[in-house]
């Protein structure tokens, strides 16, 4: 059973969002997603300054199996990227919610957060996936 922290918001495409409380939020892929992808070997991140609209293809995570798009869970400007993933993409497999974060955004429409899934709803989605 995959790990789904209660303090995060989730998308149906298996990204997580962690609002920092200062108008920014971190984005990553969920434990369920990393587990389905298998060993990650390459990550392509957006660049700081990129303006993303909710739903944009904004990053790519590649495992030994396949390349998978990451979609912007909310709109905003990229303010930081996790540069350490360039050399150690496997951190995403090990700590998808901590050191395996992808990028952070300056939110341009914070109310979009309310439309994301909470942990319970995301858990229900994953359980459906597994059956």
């Amino acid at each position: 059973m995959s790990d789904i922290p209660d303090n995060l918001k989730f998308t149906t495409s298996h990204e997580w969002v962690q609002p920092a409380g200062d108008g920014t939020a971190r984005v990553g892929i969920t434990d369920h997603a990393q587990s389905a992808l298998g060993d990650l070997v390459f990550v392509e991140l957006p660049e700081a300054g990129d303006d993303l609209a909710q739903g944009d293809e904004c990053a790519v995570v590649e495992s030994v199996k396949a390349a998978s798009d990451v979609f912007a869970p909310v709109s905003g400007q990229v303010v930081a990227c996790n540069e350490s993933l360039a050399d150690t993409p496997e951190i995403i497999n090990q700590e998808p919610y901590a050191d395996g974060w992808l990028f952070s955004l300056q939110l341009s429409a914070a109310t979009q957060l309310d439309d994301l899934l909470d942990a319970a709803a995301y858990r229900a989605l994953c359980e459906q996936d597994e059956h």
Binding site: D39, E62, V64, K65
Partner: protein
């Protein structure tokens, strides 16, 4: 687990990377029961195989010797690639791919008319491949004394068939090891014994990255019925030396050779980060010169590699199109890795 030619196979048992490294460094095992064993026996067996295979089974003079070959259509297209084992006088055993097995058997039966042969698919047999530098020792320790010493003496690309044991020193990983064909009922307990002996179970994922590093083609990706072995890096498996051997596809291959090769299968190493994947386009300057047929991340090299079909006149520098970027690739001659050793220019990794 994934569906595969009517079977359900594990992609990995936990970590594909760990499984890959286990085979390069120690020993791993693959359940390859989906591969189909077909026995071709009888006085006409050798003659039939000389007619249907592009490689020449006359090379199999000694019982036990194995040969890799393509099975071709009249137009030179590759129906399948297979290993043929010469088990005894008038007894040959083919191991063919799962996805093509039914078609292969029908094809062989159709060609066998007039030859004194029996073609017997051995659905009673299953197969385990045990591969890696420690693989042979691990397997030998589990064999009954009656076959142990002959198995220990097997040379590469030889097999033995004694009582219920058929053991071949072959594989699809670029490492030493055995492929064991056994009665399906005996396989689970032998698998369990291998597991207890510390052999790592490996899935389809590691099988693919290992064979790609070893520069071995995968049927359906690197060649199929639309291409000939000459443009699939398999010219070395086509034996044209005996002019009297008019095997199926020979005329088409000779015409192709006379006309000059249309395309060639080469190895590629990606410069920098990213992952080469099947069907990515290749460019020389602005000109499209081919595409990746098998690509992936090479765990031994910590870099992405590929097999690719390109125009014979494609000039370096080459680039691959990955999403909206053009990234440089270097053309190399496979294999990339064999027997745990890197075979390409270390400056590329």
């Amino acid at each position: 687990m994934v569906p595969f030619a009517g079977w359900v196979l594990p992609v990995h048992f936990g970590s594909q990377l760990d499984e890959h490294h286990a085979v390069r460094q120690h020993a791993g095992m693959f359940d390859v029961c989906h591969m189909r064993t077909v026995d071709v026996t009888g006085r006409g067996a050798r003659a039939l195989l000389r007619f249907v295979l592009a490689n020449d089974v006359q090379k199999l003079r000694v019982p036990g010797k194995a040969l890799y070959s393509c099975l071709l259509r009249d137009d030179g297209g590759v129906l399948d690639d297979l290993i043929v084992y010469h088990l005894a006088q008038d007894q040959f055993r083919l191991v063919v791919n799962a996805g093509t097995a039914t078609r292969d058997i029908a094809w062989l039966q159709a060609q066998a008319e007039g030859f004194a042969v029996q073609i017997a698919p051995r659905t009673d047999l299953g197969m385990i491949a045990v591969q890696g530098p420690e693989a042979r020792a691990k397997v030998l320790s589990l064999l009954p004394e009656t076959v142990q010493s002959s198995a220990a003496q097997l040379q590469p690309f030889f097999a033995l068939a004694e009582a219920e044991w058929c053991i071949a020193r072959t594989g699809y990983t670029g490492e030493d090891g055995f492929e064991l064909m056994l009665d399906q009922a005996a396989l689970p307990s032998f698998w369990q014994q291998l597991l207890d002996a510390g052999v790592q179970p490996c899935g389809l994922g590691a099988r693919d990255t290992l064979r790609l590093e070893a520069g071995m083609n995968l049927y359906g990706q690197d060649m199929d019925e639309q291409v000939s072995p000459l443009s699939s890096g398999l010219a070395w498996t086509v034996d044209l030396r005996d002019p009297a051997r008019r095997f199926i596809g020979r005329e088409a291959l000779e015409s192709e050779q006379a006309a000059g090769r249309a395309a060639q299968l080469v190895g590629l190493v990606l410069a920098g980060k990213g992952v080469l994947r099947q069907h990515q386009p290749l460019f020389a300057g602005d000109q499209s010169v081919g595409e990746v047929t098998s690509g992936g991340f090479a765990p031994t090299l910590q870099r992405s590699i590929a097999l690719a079909r390109i125009a014979p006149d494609a000039a370096a520098p080459l680039h691959v199109g990955i999403r909206n970027k053009r990234i440089p690739v270097t053309q190399v001659r496979p294999p990339f890795v064999r027997s745990g050793t890197v075979c390409i220019d270390p400056a590329l990794i």
